[in-house]
């Protein structure tokens, strides 16, 4: 399948600081690509180069077949990280204006704006000024404004930040809807759960460099599985079980201790559990935990993520 977006050895420097370093990846048409990394990893700098808002220091981009987003801006929808709309406009006016800049005639834009606002539960708010809307409502309006012209490529920079869990779910549904319609969606986030739920393909970025490029399951396979044991057993006992590579212990209020035993690659959690019971270790609760994308990120980059509590 043809790539809607392709970066080839792209580097961006601001003076002596390298924001993006030798980055290559591609996003296939009609798919959702998660562009993941902690704050300051270079996600926004990359997306700005894609949009043509800044130029790469070196490397090559292909955006819907063009060298950057400027000549194909009418086919792109963009939601910036720092969001804002004209506060005195109504949602319909804002959508009509921004979609109009993308070439959608005013009448059609107004029709779509009303339908999409209704669909997102904002029918009542469509004639109120944006300054009178809640942050979540305004964010939905801005997303609608970014996609009302039915773009082929949708770029969303940290779309979930600042949203409550209910609105996050609604936004996830909107993003899935875009992909079902055939649009390519590239969204950046530092919250891995969203990417796990939405993406097949993720690109992990750390300190401006690509740490991983592949499917979510491939990323997770890079992280070890863990056997969680709770009880009065000692960390040394847990560490001595077959296939256990490393143990992290955490005391619990009940007086017991939770041991997270990282398993060696290819090791079976069942063998370790069998051995624990055979040794008569005091185990009150056990769980074989599959790695999350967050675990994979830590393994792949050696960094931790500042994830939002709300995620």
């Amino acid at each position: 399948m043809q790539a809607a977006l392709e970066l080839e050895r792209v580097t961006k420097r601001y003076g002596a600081f390298t924001a993006v370093d030798d980055l290559s990846f591609s996003a296939r048409q009609g798919r959702i690509l998660g562009f993941l990394g902690p704050n300051g990893a270079g996600k926004t700098s990359t997306l700005r180069m894609v949009l043509g808002l800044s130029e790469p220091t070196s490397g090559r981009l292909s955006v819907l077949g063009a060298p950057d987003g400027r000549s194909v801006r009418d086919r792109i929808g963009f939601l910036p990280e720092e969001r804002g709309l004209y506060r005195r406009m109504t949602p319909v006016e804002a959508i009509v204006f921004l979609a109009g800049l993308k070439g959608l005639p005013a009448g059609e834009a107004r029709k779509r704006a009303r339908a999409m606002l209704e669909q997102q539960g904002l029918g009542e708010a469509q004639n109120r000024q944006i300054r009178q809307l809640s942050k979540g409502m305004a964010q939905k309006v801005q997303l609608i404004a970014a996609i009302a012209h039915e773009p082929e490529l949708v770029i969303l920079d940290e779309p979930f930040s600042g949203l409550d869990p209910v609105n996050q779910q609604a936004l996830e549904a909107m993003i899935r809807g875009l992909a079902e319609r055939g649009a390519t969606v590239v969204f950046s986030t530092h919250v891995m759960q969203h990417a796990e739920r939405l993406c097949e393909h993720v690109v992990l970025l750390a300190k401006g460099r690509k740490a991983f490029d592949g499917t979510v399951s491939e990323a997770k396979a890079r992280a070890p599985r863990a056997l969680v044991l709770e009880g009065s057993l000692e960390a040394a006992d847990a560490g001595a079980l077959p296939g256990v590579a490393e143990v992290t212990s955490q005391p619990l209020d009940s007086g017991h201790v939770r041991h997270s035993c990282a398993l060696k690659p290819g090791a079976s959690g069942q063998e370790a559990l069998k051995a624990a019971f055979a040794q008569g270790l005091d185990i009150q609760r056990f769980e074989l935990r599959e790695p999350s994308l967050h675990d994979a990120f830590i393994v792949l980059t050696g960094e931790s993520l500042d994830e939002e509590a709300a995620a």
Partner: protein
Amino acid sequence: MRRLLRIAVREYVAYVRTVGFWLSMLALPLGMGLVMAASGWMEASAPPPALVVVDLTPDQGYLPAVSEAVETRNSLGRLRNEIVPSPVALPRDPAAIGAALKPWLSGEARLEGKRRLAGALVIHGAGERVALDVWTDSPLLGASETVRTTIATRMQREKLVAAGVDPSLVTATQALQPTVTDYSPKTAGKASLLTRLPGLIGFAAAMLLWSVIFTGAGILLNGVIEEKSSKVLEVLLSSATVPEILFGKILGVAGVTFTVLGVWGTVSTVLLNVFAPAQAAGIGQVLFSGGLVFYFAFYLICGYLMYASIFTAIGSFCETTREAQTLLGPIMILLTIPVIFLSQALRRPDTPALDILSWVPPFTPFMMTARAASNPPIWQVAGTGVLMLATVALVVWIAGRAFRAGALSTGKVDFKGLVAKLRGGE
């Protein structure tokens, strides 16, 4: 072009919807109406300043002449004064009269009808040593000059009559006045309002340009600051080119400014045509015969574009007006300089300083507009025209780069960073 026009229309509609726009629209007519009504009311309600005239000369012959001169002046409707009797018996010593009238002159005591005594004119001495003492702290609206002239005329008359000149000849001689006629070198005919109009219109056009820049650029600056602080600029940049955004905004705000000016101009034209049709026709003739209106339009557009671009670029770096003020300081100083020289252009259009300032791009539009009446040499018009076009192109180019860099920037602006961004374009 489609995007530029959409941005312009949004800007225009956004401002036209505000209460401030309608207040601005009504402010000038209302203000002028209020000023006219207030001055008329003050004229009607306030009595003319009261004067005490004391004649201490031996024959007290000056008082009737002075009274007649002041009355004549009042009847001409100019600088009215009223001569009133002294509220107190006055001493014969001229030096003591001020002290005697002090309570009334200082306002501690009032005349009949609670009027204040505006001044006292004391005529004393005799023969060739007649003197006039003027006691006042307030302007006497020219009364003392009238009195002085009257006294001088009488003194000259007495001297001539004493020398044996026929009194009727003296009267006839003193009545002699030259006939003064103003001619215009441009028309080689008598000077009229029409011949002076170009100068006045040039001055008015320069002031109009100045006020358009001040108000229009101010609106632009605040608009961009609001967009920057509410994070709309990045969305705009992803949807339109920098020139489209820049010119869209400038065009939209120009539309707002010219709508206000258009309404004021239309109202003024209608009123002028109704109440002073000759002057209205004269203004029309000056503006449209000889292409002066195009001359003004050229410098108006160039000046507005130059300053509006600068203000827009500055706004893109600022999230608050306080931040903008630090960057605006030098521009505001630049903008005050033309105002100082504009009145010079009206009174002394051949001042070399005006020639020199006409070649300094920040001042060119103002100076050349104000100098229109003095027919600057064609090479100067062409030269400054080319200079303006080049300057505007350069300023717009720099402003475009600055706008893009500013719109995507975060945090405080430092001069070094600003220059680096301009050189790098981001």
